[in-house]
């Protein structure tokens, strides 16, 4: 075993994203049709597969997917919405009008050559068009048919006419209700409109529905190796996000307690909060009693706070205790800057009484600070992608580092119908004249 080389050097030599392009891709034997419409969850799901090398054919109606227009403040980059710009990655974009019979026939021929189909239409729409799972499995019994919608394919709400959006899924999950600042005593909504149930800014319900579905697709592909059978998969975005609620369901069902807003403290943990500092805020974490002791020690409060006598964290986690201790902690953190507190925690891990145990201290950053942080840049998170259409674009990438089949972002996005010629030639044998006819007829 080549243990003489330090672990961090050894592994960096093998999983640095800079050498990703020299390595094979895990899923380059898989073909995916992504029909998603008005859904970032669908786009993100096929991105997860495309990052691993799956051949993803992204099928949009001739006018393009509405999701392209979902962009912050209406801003476009070379004609493209900024969200779509990040999630068109590695996909071949074609157009196809599924509202026309001829379009559906073309889809069926593509399905015969595909492994996975992703769709986000309201339940029943694909069936009405004669291209639902029951129709397509006759053409390709190995097909994995993945649907992501607001309420799923079955159950009382599944025929709802309401569309699927991230903020709705967040609202439906039970998580938004319990996240947010506590309304100050004697105040109301009009005075403090920020002390309300607060959703996450990023499209987390959509993104993680996408990731759940991608994981489900991988499991279904694995099952297909042994059985040869495809199947239908169903994700409801509200359910997928709710699954991330780690304790509230059981707490409510068994103890009758509804998890309510607790600001930036934490209902289920101590020491675990954002704390104000001279120049912003830091996260403080110490989920072992020794880490909470180390924090007290680091702040010079070992004796005054009686840290030597602390034996477990259960008591500190109680609401009254948290409300008692938080102001004492904040009074200390306010004396320092973020950088000072981070440096103190690193120093404590080397020289403190409880070293190497040290509290978690992390700056609460703006995304600009995050993007400029040399640590993430070195690790390949924000390496600009050189895209043939959109130029150098920064998207978050390389979130997995892998030794054999690393993910990569070969291009970020394509305009509507960009690969029509290439894909229709490759999969259908259509010549340019045929494409021209189809285009004229509104089929592509």
């Amino acid at each position: 075993m080549d243990k003489e080389q330090a672990w961090s050097d050894w592994i960096k030599e093998r999983d640095d994203p800079r050498i990703a392009h020299t390595k094979p891709e895990a899923l380059d034997d898989i073909t995916v049709l992504d029909l998603s419409y008005k859904s970032f969850a669908g786009c993100c799901c096929s991105s997860m597969l495309a990052e691993f090398g799956a051949k993803v054919i992204r099928i949009e109606p001739p006018e393009g997917d509405f999701i392209r227009s979902c962009t912050p403040y209406g801003m476009l980059h070379k004609g493209e919405g900024l969200n779509y710009l990040t999630e068109g990655r590695n996909k071949h974009h074609i157009t196809l009008n599924l509202k026309e019979t001829e379009g559906r026939e073309i889809l069926k021929k593509l399905v015969a050559k595909a492994d996975v189909l992703i769709e986000t239409f309201k339940p029943g729409v694909m069936d009405e068009w004669g291209i639902g799972y029951e129709d397509l499995k006759k053409i390709n019994p190995k097909l994995i048919f993945a649907s992501i919608t607001a309420y799923g394919q079955f159950g009382p709400m599944s025929r709802s006419q309401m569309p699927d959006y991230d903020n709705i899924a967040q609202a439906r999950s039970g998580i938004q209700a319990g996240t947010g600042e506590v309304m100050p005593d004697g105040k109301g909504y009009d005075e403090c409109p920020w002390a309300v149930p607060t959703k996450a800014g990023p499209w987390i319900a959509w993104t993680q529905s996408a990731t759940f579905m991608a994981v489900g697709i991988m499991a279904a592909l694995y099952w297909r190796w042994t059985t040869g059978e495809g199947q239908a998969l169903d994700v409801s975005t509200a359910e997928a996000y709710a699954r991330f609620d780690d304790y509230a369901a059981l707490w409510y069902e068994e103890a009758g307690v509804v998890a309510e807003r607790f600001g930036s403290l934490d209902i289920a943990a101590w020491l675990y909060c954002f704390a104000p500092t001279k120049d912003g805020a830091v996260f403080l974490g110490g989920l072992r009693v020794e880490m909470w002791q180390a924090f007290a020690d680091m702040m010079g409060k070992w004796d005054e706070w009686g840290a030597a006598g602390w034996t477990n964290l259960t008591i500190f986690t109680e609401k009254e205790q948290q409300l008692k201790w938080a102001p004492l902690v904040f009074a200390e953190t306010r004396k320092y800057t973020n950088d000072e507190l981070v440096a103190m925690s690193i120093e404590y891990s080397q020289k403190g009484r409880l070293a190497p145990i040290t509290p978690v201290v992390a700056p609460v950053c703006s995304p600009q600070e995050a993007m400029e942080d040399a640590n993430w840049r070195e690790r390949g998170m924000f390496t600009p992608v050189k895209d043939p259409v959109y130029g150098e674009v920064i998207v978050a990438q390389a979130q997995h580092k892998m030794t054999k089949t690393p993910i990569r972002t070969s291009w970020v996005c394509q305009p509507v119908g960009y690969d029509n010629e290439r894909i229709y030639k490759e999969y259908m044998g259509f010549e340019p004249s045929k494409l021209k006819k189809l285009k004229k007829a509104g089929i592509i």
Binding site: T86, N167, P202, E239, V258, P367, V393
Partner: protein, 449 residues
Amino acid sequence: MEEEAWQDYKGKKYSKPLPLKGIRVLEVCTLILGPSGPGFLAMMGAEVIKCEIPPMGDTCRDMTPFGYLFKGNGPVFTHTNPNKYWIGLDLHKPEAKRVFLELAANSDIVEENLRPGVMEGWDVGYRQIKEINPGIIYIAKNGFGQWGKYAKENRPSNDGASQGFSGYAWMSSFPGQPPLKSRIYPCDDYGGLMGEMAVLAALHYRKRTGQGQYIELSQSENIMRAMSWVWPYQQITGKTAMPAGNRDVSICPADTFYSADDTFVAIAAPAPDEFKGLCTAMGRPELASDPRFKDHLTRLREDNATEILKIIADWARTRTAEEIEKMGEKHGFAASRVYTVKDVANDWHFQERGFITEVDDPLLGQYHSYEFPVMMAKTPPRVKRSVRPVGFDNEYVMTHYLGKSQDEIKQLYQCGALGKWADVPGRRPPAGWDGKAGIIMPEGDKEKE
């Protein structure tokens, strides 16, 4: 048509196969980032053997909402660790390292979330395991990955640290207010989930080539991947992306509104027919063709968005949340009350789908949990077995997986390689345990699952 695939999904769930049957996972994970991933695989049928350092085990056992324990267990812990087998193995001991390597030799996947190099320091790291099992898929998840400045400083991390580091918290607060921490642990759970994406892709590759590999993952990097527009926006404008409270700045209208019954309702209506539907519901159909709001890109502009959201907010205050939901259904825009966990638990739809599922566990009894949220028509994932005290399945794992004799097991206990729970909350069996419930007989139940 698709009813056929989904007919009586809930009722037939337990008689169908699981997609990852036969996959074996060895886990040395604590808290949520680490254990959540193998938990997802276990719900899909993988055999997950969770190794904890006895007698205290996983720190997650201490995570209790305001100190509440469910039959002696922390609810975060039960939620994160379904369907696993539990061994107490003190990896500081040479005999335990040998046992671990024997298990690793017979596993498909190893998952750990310790700081960089710790497993290797114990002689059970990737470089040791791949020598005896070249097909192994090994994933290490932690705050900062295995290399880089922060990893080198050996910094500890938590979900909250990643919410801070990534800018996620910054983006999830109200303008002018300090960054807000989420009530949940999104960086942990999302990191755990993302990890399995890589693990299953690696498994696919191994099926094709026989080759295993090493995967590393940082909690902060994963949540950054979920922040979409923020990065190119900052690159292109040179400006910092700013928070917008409940307003979605990429979809208009999409926001949370205060309604007449002193509650909150989320609305989204960006597509032309949806926006038109909302305007009609508000009794203001002319707004749909107002030059400020006529198409989505125009409507998204800061000044126009502010105006339309104000109009909707004023209207929403005159209607109850339920009325608005009904109008959404009628007029084809999206609306939902902001559900509390009580609303989720009592929601008929979630119950009918089996998303709210009843676990009937021999040790912890009956309770409700959230199901794995990918419904798979032929291979439905499921929660079937709850958490166990530290080292609870030692005997089963040692005999069933490693063929150890009673004498060998005894020796492993004597030298401290194997161990069981400390007699403290979160570790020990529930009060009144009969000494039998929950124990898997070496030749018994497993095959029946």
